[in-house]
Symmetry: D2
Subunit: 147 residues, 4 copies
């Protein structure tokens, strides 16, 4: 059973904007880096045909609070924690920490809610329960870690 994942990225030139800082939309791509690592660690992928039925995990809610900017060459740790688990949906909390600082400090906090979908015969997405092979490997993080 797993409830967390960590990823580290270095801020790239293409992620900055003319204000000299990481464009805010990129934090949502950073979240996915940690999420993708989470599913990879469980033997799955963000879009997978290893389950029956094949599933994807489109987002129904995304949010982020920005505390401090990130700049070129900064190292950022993205810590993902499962904060809610329903039959057809998962929610994650994300904490972003700037590592190249003494001591490292939190620069942002985010949240995603995803639903489990498959593609019906007509090609349309329809929500389905998270396949047991995957669901059995995921649990909610301990309450004290989610504060």
């Amino acid at each position: 059973m797993a409830y967390e994942s960590k990823a580290v990225r270095r801020v790239e030139f293409s992620e900055t904007d003319m204000a000299g800082i990481v464009h805010y939309s990129n934090f949502f791509r950073y979240m996915e880096t940690a999420e993708q690592g989470f599913f990879r660690s469980l033997g799955f992928s963000l879009v997978t045909d290893k389950t029956d039925p094949p599933i994807g995990l489109p987002r129904v809610h995304a949010e982020c609070d920005y505390l401090q900017p990130l700049r070129l060459d900064d190292e950022v740790e993205i810590h993902m924690l499962v904060c809610e688990k329903k039959s057809k949906a998962l929610s994650y909390l994300f904490r972003f920490r700037k590592l190249n600082a003494s001591p490292p400090f939190e620069v942002a906090r985010g949240k995603l809610t995803v639903v489990c979908v498959t593609h019906g015969a007509d090609g349309k997405m329809e929500s389905v329960p998270i396949p047991k092979a995957l669901a059995d490997k995921i649990e909610v993080a301990p309450a004290e870690m989610l504060k």
Copy 2:
């Protein structure tokens, strides 16, 4: 006095992901399209040296709820409404509508909160009141439009 802005985009191939729909992070770029048009209509820019002091508007909060996916070549209208105005901060509501449908329908709803900053002598960003030349042109949208 202005409180809204509309922009229309057509979904581009590079905005889709392997699930065949617009990647969720792009809705945050779409929000900026409408916001940028709002400031341009007032004679300003998202980063401007036309005010004293020169200012930028980094985001401190961003969120989006996704109702329906967007696909290649879809036409989406982004309707931005000012929903809060403080001395140093603004919040906007965004409604996304898919136009190439009969009738058009809402596909997502978002919110941004931005703060007004300038760069101090040491290069660091510090929050400042929205310059009067700009603030005087912005008002909160009527309550019934924000429901």
Copy 3:
């Protein structure tokens, strides 16, 4: 028969980088804007199942020469011209002009070569002739326009 397409974009904040100019990778996304409009004007899409077989047009070569930078709020025209047509491949020339200048001037020039592919029974892409329904609508631009 068609051999050209034009698109106009306004430079967005999220397309700039910390050097204050449009990140060079975005010119390749701009090229697609014009290319997507070209296929849309012919009744097709960049990825289409309206042909038999369904096809996509992955790139095998891309290049761009950058003459002048683009900045926030600049208006850029992307002019695409078909410069080569083979049974399984197309090449396009792109001219980028900054419109908000008197007179407008060229800021970049690019080229793409795409191949027509379909997905085999094993899911792998394989190159196929451009379906006649599409190929019959495309011709190479007059030589004097390609100088």
Copy 4:
């Protein structure tokens, strides 16, 4: 004296497109990952005020040949080699190899040419010789590596 740099990335969900493969524009962002690592290894940054004058390295030419697609979770090595050094410009060759294959194989090859610029008193970019502190650390790769 340095003439090469290697970086490894794992393909992210946000880098794919609806064709199920990495969008071609992202290879140009991947090139920068290796280039950024090259300058970091020399004690500099892609945009630096550690030199006199402060410099940036905007691109004047970019190209890429695509041999095989990359997909979600693929591991790609980007090998950058300095292939030309002039007083005001550098050119690099890039080889992309898919590592999660036996044996790994080349999936793309790219090239960038950058010029050294500083910002004049009027804010405009002007080309300048690469500062000696930086230029003295860079050499062209051995000819046999550039074949």
